[in-house]
Symmetry: C2
Subunit: 174 residues, 2 copies
């Protein structure tokens, strides 16, 4: 009887700990996270262009343990080092999830359950639409590809799309 | 009997909601928060210098609701607008807590109970020491003031201290 009670207590604690980690992940992503989708030139792709979605968190080396929390929780993604040779004292680390399957299975359902509280939620909603579209292989059709490029334009990014600006695309979408 | 049960459920939900907000605040602070202490020239101060501690979170206008969560939770601090006339599309907002009393009563106990997970914890620990020292009015003595300036130097900041670099301070601390 006592054993059962002790099990119950541990389980409530575990649940609370999980809740704390999840809310911390939402807060840290609201602060430092980035849902980005780029369209890159790729000569091996049929259209000559490739859609490249990425969920990224960047931190200095001293805060690497924070990135490891993400990797451990999501059970996917990789941590890359960006070696720095400028006047910064430490290397930068990036936690990245790039696989459509992992984004679809882990990252997107998590942020649908645990809502972001900043305007980054807007980026996430568009990101999520694009991943859904890619998962349905719509980016392999010309129409689907252009639609994705137009969605990217509504995200919080600075640069104009090289793909949409290219004379070939302009000709095709006229 | 039923009423009591319903009360219990609401209270557990409230507790869970509180836990979520608190962990989100820790995560967002790990990402975007800043515990800063500056020493500024002030001719009205006896020593000619003034210690200026500040807990700050900065966000673009579109994410103002995230700052309001902080203000509502901590029941202190102010939100200021930094009007921008450059090529950015939106004004910046800053949630700031500057009062020693409010920092000591609200901000510091919160982050002592809810530990930061990035290297920002190091800045917080030093910040907390400085506030403790100021609360004990040690910054009003020359020795105490220099000790604070030296603590600031161990924080994650870029610029050299104007106070410690001043010829007068160098002469006095020789």
């Amino acid at each position: 009887m006592e054993l059962k009670q002790s099990k119950k207590v541990i389980s409530a604690d575990d649940q609370q700990e999980r809740l704390k980690i999840e809310s911390w992940i939402v807060g840290f992503t609201d602060g430092e996270g980035c849902f980005s989708v780029s369209i890159l030139k790729n000569n091996t792709a049929k259209s000559g262009w490739q859609v490249f979605p990425e969920f990224v968190i960047t931190q200095g080396a001293k805060s690497l343990p924070a990135l490891e929390i993400f990797k451990k929780y999501f059970k996917c993604g990789k941590i890359f080092v960006n070696k720095r040779y400028d006047n910064h004292k430490e290397n930068l680390y990036r936690y990245c999830v790039r696989s459509i399957c992992e984004l679809e299975k882990s990252i997107i359902p998590f942020f649908k359950r645990n809502k972001l509280k900043t305007y980054k939620k807007n980026d996430f909603d568009i990101f999520s639409k694009i991943i859904d579209s890619m998962s349905n292989r719509k980016h392999l059709t010309e129409k689907g590809f252009v639609k994705i490029a137009q969605l990217i334009e509504t995200m919080n990014r600075k640069k104009k799309s090289r793909f949409l600006e290219s004379s070939e695309t302009k000709r095709q979408t006229k």
